[in-house]
């Protein structure tokens, strides 16, 4: 045990002190904070000025009903011809564009928007929807002789609020926990991606590290000082410790930044909206107990998933002579991970489909698929079975990988014969 500890400590301190570790540890939260702040920043600073649009309405009923808003102001100039309007309101006039409505707009739906600078999708959609509703109402009024249509419509307008709850068998609104596919979806994606990144990034770190040790021949010195199993486990656990440390630092930095850094750097408006986003997610997650459970599951699945794949990566690393050769094995190991990502996407349509269920039980896909399903509310027994299967298979793959590792690390260029392989499997 003391030897494993020494190896873990070496792997950990060497990696944590590397410049690349420090840089990624600090840059990643900046990136995440950027992602959090960007939407609110865009909302507050990315807003463009109010656009002036001149409406030349030849039909006679549209222009007066166009409604100006924060984005656009309409001014009516019905007595100009199209050509005159274009001459007067050219690029130098400061007018954004001319909306020319044909006389027969009711039948043809033909409207021209002649602009002086580049258009925006948002503005086009806004104008289009206004025009559509104005023209449709006008036709409705005319065809079916409804005079007080506007009043009638205003009368029946009701905004719909869809409240989704989790069924707890009582039907009592107070007791049921509200749940929302939207938040679950976001949370599921974030958790699944996190698992995916940890397995890929740190798994490959294990592979590279094994290959380097092998090619630099440190391995000869190491195995005359400790057993190959100790060496492999020490390496895997050391890198696992690095991964957990990095994630913990990220979490702490992101939370701290959203509490202190963002309010200090940006205006209160931005800060509030990014805080509200976090609060919104937290609020929807419900009580702290649920969050704590989620974190425990997350930690268990990250650790289990990483350990399972790390042992495979270690075995692959031991079997090759260079990192380039290792890429082949890397591709093979990546396949179930990518499959898991594909299944994860289907989970969001139906978290309880048979494929989602089985993919979250089979150990090679279970960490990613299960962690993505958990936010949707999965029976505890399913999670427990999935974890047990995951950890049992970790023990099996590690045992097997240790055997392969033991043989692989001393194969330089020459292939072992089958007899030799059998003999190694039998030796302690």
């Amino acid at each position: 045990m003391k030897k494993i500890y020494l190896i873990v400590a070496r792997e950990f301190t060497e990696r944590v002190r590397k410049k690349s570790f420090i840089v990624t540890t600090l840059l990643m939260p900046l990136f995440m904070i950027g992602m959090m702040v960007a939407p609110s920043l865009m909302m507050f600073y990315g807003k463009s000025e109010q656009k002036q649009v001149v409406v030349v309405d030849k039909s006679g009923f549209v222009a007066e009903r166009m409604q100006s808003s924060e984005e656009v102001v309409f001014s009516v100039q019905n007595n100009l011809t199209k050509e005159e309007a274009c001459q007067i309101y050219n690029a130098e006039s400061g007018i954004f564009g001319i909306l020319y409505i044909n006389e027969d707009v009711k039948e043809s739906g033909n409207v021209q928007f002649i602009i002086n600078s580049s258009s925006s999708l948002m503005l086009e959609e806004l104008i289009q929807s206004q025009l559509k509703s104005i023209v449709e109402r006008e036709k409705l009024k005319e065809r079916y002789n409804i005079d007080n249509l506007d009043q009638m419509l205003a009368d029946v307008a009701v905004p719909i609020a869809l409240n989704t709850f989790e069924n707890n068998g009582t039907g009592n609104e107070e007791d049921m926990e509200s749940t929302s596919a939207g938040i679950n979806y976001i949370l599921g994606i974030i958790l699944g991606m996190l698992l995916y990144m940890v397995i890929i990034i740190y798994g490959q770190m294990v592979l590279t590290s094994v290959v380097e040790e092998k090619s630099s021949r440190v391995i000869d010195v190491m195995v005359t000082s400790c057993s190959p199993f100790q060496l492999m486990m020490g390496k895997i656990l050391g890198i696992a410790a690095v991964a957990l440390t990095q994630i913990a630092i990220w979490a702490a930095l992101i939370i701290a930044a959203s509490k202190f850094l963002i309010p200090a750097l940006f205006s209160a408006d931005v800060a509030m909206s990014s805080d509200a986003m976090l609060q919104g997610i937290m609020g929807t997650l419900g009580d702290t107990g649920y969050i704590a459970t989620l974190f425990i599951y997350l930690a268990l699945f990250i650790l289990g998933g990483f350990l399972l794949y790390a042992s495979l990566y270690a075995a692959a690393g031991s079997a090759v002579d260079s990192v380039q050769d290792g890429q082949q094995f890397n591709t093979i190991i990546m396949m179930p991970i990518i499959l898991a990502m594909i299944v994860m996407m289907s989970v969001f349509n139906d978290p309880n489909s048979p494929i989602a269920f089985w993919a979250s039980m089979i150990p090679f896909t279970s960490p990613i698929v299960m962690i993505a399903r958990i936010p949707f509310g999965i029976p505890t027994w399913e999670v427990v079975v999935s974890l047990v299967v995951l950890y049992l298979s970790f023990v099996v793959t590690t045992w097997l990988s240790a055997k392969i590792y033991r043989i692989g690390i001393f194969m330089h260029g020459k292939r072992p014969s089958w007899g030799e392989l059998a003999k190694w499997l039998k030796t302690k």
């Binding site: 630099s216 440190v218 000869d220």
Partner: protein, 309 residues
């Protein structure tokens, strides 16, 4: 003979070729044991079999009369031919790490390391990264890591390669010092000069087989053909006449400093050397006479070529 390590009938083959063919040898306790042989003879494979890095197909390796176990290996000091150090790690920390793996505690390890670093004149390198060291420098660090825990059995694979003569000499002194303090040292080499100076025993491996084993003294004496070199001031003919039927003059005489001539003679084993000396003394102007021992280099080449008697 009290042997610490005994290799018995070890055979090891890889697909396509035999690396060791029925090799046996006994390493006496407290000796410096040289494993000699041309490149690719199987020296490194033998060392790896002893270390259990590779398993033998047949035969066994005994340490102190018991079959060698994994735990025994952890106590051996082993320096592989291709130096294995973590490139990105600092020298001092790395040496401490290896020492602790070998069971020393941190304080003890550091104390011993400081002592050794001073001794080999590399104290300045403590905080440097291994990748910044030259090959010879890294080798010193590796040497220290190998001997630090004072193992009773040390195995060096080509310890002198990569060293300049001064440092090679330093290393020789250290190896002899370790032997004097009770360690047994096995090392492989094709540097014959080092063998004559420091080895007590050797095994010569060629084409996967042990072709010559024994103490250096004994081997040189047996290989030597009772050849003597006589330094004198007589003519070649006078000398030939003097030794007569007792010895054969080999080749021509050659002049040496001070007007003397050197001539080699071969004295058959059954002749009394004192008779030869007395005849030479009577008839020639004799100045000196010495037995010519074959160098290990000669023996090596002759053994490998199969011309050794």
């Amino acid at each position: 003979m009290d042997s610490i390590l005994s290799v018995q009938h070890v055979t090891k083959s890889y697909t396509g070729h035999v690396a060791l063919d029925d090799v046996s040898l006994e390493v006496p306790r407290g000796s410096v044991y040289g494993l000699l042989g041309p490149n690719g003879a199987g020296k490194t494979t033998l060392i790896r079999v002893i270390n259990r890095i590779t398993l033998a197909d047949k035969g066994r390796v005994m340490l102190d009369g018991k079959e060698i176990s994994v735990d025994d290996i952890f106590h051996i000091g082993y320096m592989p031919e291709e130096r294995g150090l973590y490139k990105k790690m600092r020298v001092g920390e790395q040496a401490i790490f290896f020492a602790r793996l070998k069971g020393l505690d941190r304080r003890d390890a550091e104390k011993r390391l400081r002592h050794w670093f001073e001794r080999l004149g590399i104290s300045d390198w403590w905080g440097r990264k291994v990748e910044d060291l030259s090959k010879g420098m890294a080798q010193k660090v590796q040497f220290i890591s190998t001997v630090l825990h004072e193992p009773k059995l040390l195995i060096f694979d080509e310890p002198f390669s990569g060293f300049d003569p001064i440092n090679a000499n330093l290393l020789k002194e250290e190896i002899l010092g370790l032997r004097d303090r009770g360690a047994t040292i096995i090392f492989s080499t094709h540097n014959m000069a080092s063998v004559e100076e420091i080895c007590d025993h050797i095994t010569l491996i060629n084409k996967s087989r042990n072709i010559l084993s024994g103490s250096v003294e004994e081997i040189r004496r047996t290989a030597g053909g009772n050849t003597f070199e006589i330094t004198h001031r007589s003519s070649h003919e006078v000398l030939s006449e003097a030794v007569g039927e007792l010895a054969n003059v080999i080749g021509e005489s050659r002049g040496v400093v001070g007007g003397y001539t050197a001539t080699k003679i071969d004295v058959p084993r059954n002749e009394d050397i004192r008779e030869v000396i007395s005849r030479l003394n009577d008839r020639c102007e004799l100045r000196a006479m010495q037995e010519l021992m074959p160098s290990m280099n000669d023996i090596f080449i002759r053994a490998v070529n199969g011309t050794l008697k």
